[in-house]
Structures are given as C-alpha cells and as structure tokens.
C-alpha cells in the first residue's frame, strides 16, 4: 500500500488551538487573557500565575506583565494581581475539583491538561520519609501551551535518514531549554511513524517513552498529539524501564524518548542498541564541548552510540537548526544555521 503524501495526512486529534487553555483559568484571569490581541496569542508560550503577584505571560520574544484590560505592559505597577481565590479556582478547574486524584502528578510537580498543555506547579512540599509526598499551598502555576507544528522536522529529516538503508540514524537532538526540542522530536516521531517516501523511509514502528507526558501530551493515557499510526506510547513511565519494557513487549524499530541524563539511561540505550533498535532522543545542552563536560553524556559520546547529533538554538529564532554533526567522526554535515 502506498503511503499517503505528507500533505494529505490527517494531523491527528483536531486541536482547538491555544484558546482551549482559557477554560482552565479562574474567570477573572480568563477574561483578562481573552482580551490579549490575536498577535499576542499567536506568540504565547506560557502563562504564569503567582499568588499576590502580577499576572505574567511569556511571548516568543520574552516575558511581559498583563494589565486588567488584557494589554501587555512592561512594568509590574499597573499589572493585574493574581489573588488567592484565582489560584484556588484555577486549581479546581485544572484538577476537576479533585486535587486528591492527582497525587502522582503533584509529586512530580506538573499536571497535563486535555490538549496536552502542561502545568508546572510550585508550592510547599510535604515530605514523608525524606521524599516528597505531595504539594500543598500551591501558589505558583506555569501553564505551558503545547503547540503542534506539523512539518517542523522537515528540515532535519534529510540529515538523519540513511537513504541507502531506508532507516533512521541513531540520533541525538541537543538544545538549550525552550529551544524547541520536544516539538521537533514530536514531529520527527510522527514523520518516522508515517514514513517518508521521498527520502526512502518506510513507516517504522516507534516506541515512545514519554516520561513527563510532554511529547504526546497524554491525558488519561490518550495522546493528544498526532504521533503517527505506528507509534506506541508509554506515558509517565521512567525512561530506562520504559525502554526495556517496549523492547520486550512491542518490538519497536525506533525508540524515542526525551531528556537523557541519568546513569540507568545509558544502560537502557545500550540494551536498545543490541536489540537492533534505532534511537532518537534529546538532551539539554548548547554545543559539543558542553556535552563533553557532563559525565554521563561524555560516556555516551565516548561510546559513539549516536550517528547523528542535531543542534538546535536561537540564532535565527526559536527552533533554529544550528548544525548537524556525524556522531562517529564529529565532522559537520550541516555547519550553517538553518530555519
């Protein structure tokens, strides 16, 4: 069966756009943010609510306060102050009036909303036996708006596909925080799962370990993002364990996961390698020298597991492809920034 051309494919669950998040905010905050200009909405990345402090939004060019009329203002003086009642109502709406049903999420410090939007939480940690049991007095919320950008990986795919073998290279994506690596990873998974006939890549079975529910944005276990027809998702599962589970049970051809960095991840990567599975993963970082200074990453690089290392950055705006390196020889395959 011929795979459909990329443009004709459905892009998964119809996403109602970033406005969807408004319904999870306390009515006063909701009304203010609803008055933000469409332009601001298109640049909106984060909404930050901190009790008794000014309402703030992060746009793609930086953060700004918001006044009661919904206008972005540079100074905190005229900004809307978030009240305790606003925080309480927002939490009620986000948790469906059931904070107690989110214990695991509170322990991890975030909840995922329908639509895959993530809410980071800050408050007072309640400890039990030296470990965090839950959070109370939640006084800081950071709502990160999840955006799907189908096609964002188009520029990367030619560099990470071995056209002779019709397979993916083991690929590591390196990016500073908020550089767009999760968005890129998501679209890469989607494209690999569908297959890219123009690059000679047939659809591959992808196993995705989504430890922080960020890639698939799963809500109640159901991915809220389109990740392709051949993708199996382990939601909220620790990376190393999840990778082993997938290899044993789902026979993936590609394993994708986010934010490598723990000791046990290395072991799991090697297991996957021996199982003949292609790896696709990301890591925080700026450049090769930076990676080499971190013990675990230095080890991974030393073993030359990855065949392609993709660097993202901001030089031409968020999501700029800064360079692609061969993981074996460290020679540059793409040296000039590309957007």
């Amino acid at each position: 069966m011929d795979p459909l051309p990329l443009a004709d494919r459905k892009t998964g669950p119809a996403s109602p756009g970033p406005w969807q998040v408004l319904s999870f905010l306390a009515p006063p905050v909701r009304d203010i943010l609803a008055r933000l200009s469409p332009e601001a909405w298109s640049q909106l990345e984060e909404i930050r609510l901190r009790q008794n402090r000014p309402l703030m939004v992060n746009l793609s060019w930086g953060d700004t306060f918001v006044d009661p009329g919904g206008r972005p203002i540079p100074s905190a003086a005229g900004a809307y102050l978030v009240t305790a009642e606003d925080m309480k109502r927002t939490l009620e709406l986000m948790s469906n009036c059931s904070i107690y049903s989110l214990e695991e999420e509170l322990r991890q410090g975030f909840i995922t909303l329908p639509g895959g939007h993530r809410v980071g939480l800050a408050g007072k940690a309640v400890l039990e036996g030296g470990r965090i049991r839950t959070l109370k007095y939640i006084t800081g919320l950071n709502l990160r708006i999840a955006r799907e950008l189908p096609g964002v990986a188009d520029k990367v795919m030619p560099y990470v596909i071995n056209q002779r073998e019709g397979n993916l290279y083991h690929t590591l994506i390196v990016s500073p925080p908020r550089g767009g690596k999760t968005t890129l990873l998501r679209d890469m998974v989607r494209q690999i799962s569908w297959g890219i006939p123009s690059l000679g890549l047939p659809g591959r079975r992808v196993g995705l370990v989504d430890e922080r529910s960020e890639i698939a944005g799963s809500y109640a276990g159901v991915p809220q993002k389109d990740l392709g027809p051949r993708t199996d998702i382990l939601d909220g599962c620790p990376k190393a364990e999840g990778m082993m589970m997938l290899i044993r049970s789902m026979s993936p051809q590609v394993i994708a996961t986010d934010e490598l960095g723990r000791e046990e991840d290395v072991f799991a990567l090697e297991e996957a390698l021996h199982a003949g599975v292609k790896l696709l993963t990301t890591v925080h970082g700026h450049n090769l020298a930076d990676l080499r200074q971190r013990p675990i990453l230095a080890r991974i690089l030393g073993r030359k597991i990855f065949e392609r290392i993709v660097f993202l950055g901001f030089s031409l705006g968020v999501g700029t492809l800064e360079g692609v390196f061969d993981g074996q020889t460290y020679s540059a395959i793409l040296a000039k920034p590309l957007r």
Binding site: S23, E92, C97, Y100, V126
Partner: protein
C-alpha cells in the same frame, strides 16, 4: 348536616397537620443517617478509588438514599456547568435546595456546610479526615434528632386530632 361535615373536615385537617409534623420528626434521624452513609461512600471513593469528584458524587447519588440523591446530583451539575462558580458555590446552592425539599434544618446541615470549602482541595489523607469529622458531627446531630423524635412524634400524631376536636367544641 353541614355542621357535621364542617366539624369532620376541621378534625381531619388538624389531624393531617399533626401527622405531617410527626412524620417530619421521624424523617429527620433517617435522613441524617443516610447523609452519613453517603459521606462514608464518598470517603471510600476518594480514598481508595481517587475518583474525581464529579464521578464520585454521581456514584454516591446512585447508591444512596433517593431522598438525598438530588443534593449530590445538583452539586455535580453545578460543578460541571461551563463557567460555573466553583465547588464552594455549588455546594452552598445544593445545601439550600436540600434544606428546601427535605425536613432537614439549617443546624442539621451545618456539619456538611463546612465541607464545601474543603472537598477536592487537598490530598487524600486530608479529605478523609474532614469527611470523618463531618460524619462524627452528623452522628451527634442525628442523636439529638432521634431524642426529639421519641419525645414528639407520638404526641403530634394525636395532638392534631385533639386540637381539631377542641376547635370544633369551641366553635359550636
């Protein structure tokens, strides 16, 4: 003949009125008991099932006393209403309805009123503690209601008729 009919009507009406009051006395402890059972159920759902509140309220309404079920259902409906006012408001309005449609008094419902600001807003352990406290308080109220019932129920059952008879005797 007309006089006799009138007298019978007066006695009948007063008797029924007395009966109603007596029934209210009998109903209060039963409803208070049902509320405790409902809270127990809610506690189980929260503690063992971590069931989200709207679903838990529906379960409690289905499994519990049909006379108090509308309370839980209306709280749930208000909660799920888009642009709703939140649990505190929904709970308050639910209690007002409960007070209106049943024989329960404001004092009877005091232990429940406090729950509005607490339900769903904390972890399981905390929720369980508050639900247990409310149940204990309801138990106390129930005891009072039971005593009042044993004192007054039978009296009102007869008192209505007696008053009716007295009224007839004075009038004629």
């Amino acid at each position: 003949m007309l006089k006799l009919t009138g007298a019978l009507l007066i006695i009948g009406a007063c008797g029924l009125l007395g009966n109603d009051i007596a029934r209210a006395y009998a109903q209060r402890p039963r409803l208070l008991r049902s509320l405790q059972t409902a809270l127990q159920l809610l506690e189980t759902e929260i503690n063992y099932g971590a069931t989200p509140l709207p679903a838990a309220l529906k379960l409690v309404a289905t499994a519990g006393d049909p006379q108090i079920a509308p309370f839980f259902l209306s709280v749930r409906a208000l909660l799920l209403e888009p642009g709703g006012k939140g649990l505190v408001e929904a709970w308050k309005r639910g209690l007002e309805e409960l007070k209106y449609y049943t024989v329960l008094t404001e004092r009877d419902l005091e232990p429940l009123a406090a729950l509005g600001g607490i339900l769903g807003g904390s972890d399981r352990q905390d929720q369980v503690k508050h639900l247990q406290l409310a149940r204990e308080q309801l138990k106390g109220v129930e005891k009072g209601a039971r005593e009042a019932c044993s004192k007054n129920e039978r009296m009102w059952r007869y008192l209505g008729f007696l008053l009716g008879t007295m009224l007839v005797l004075t009038l004629y």
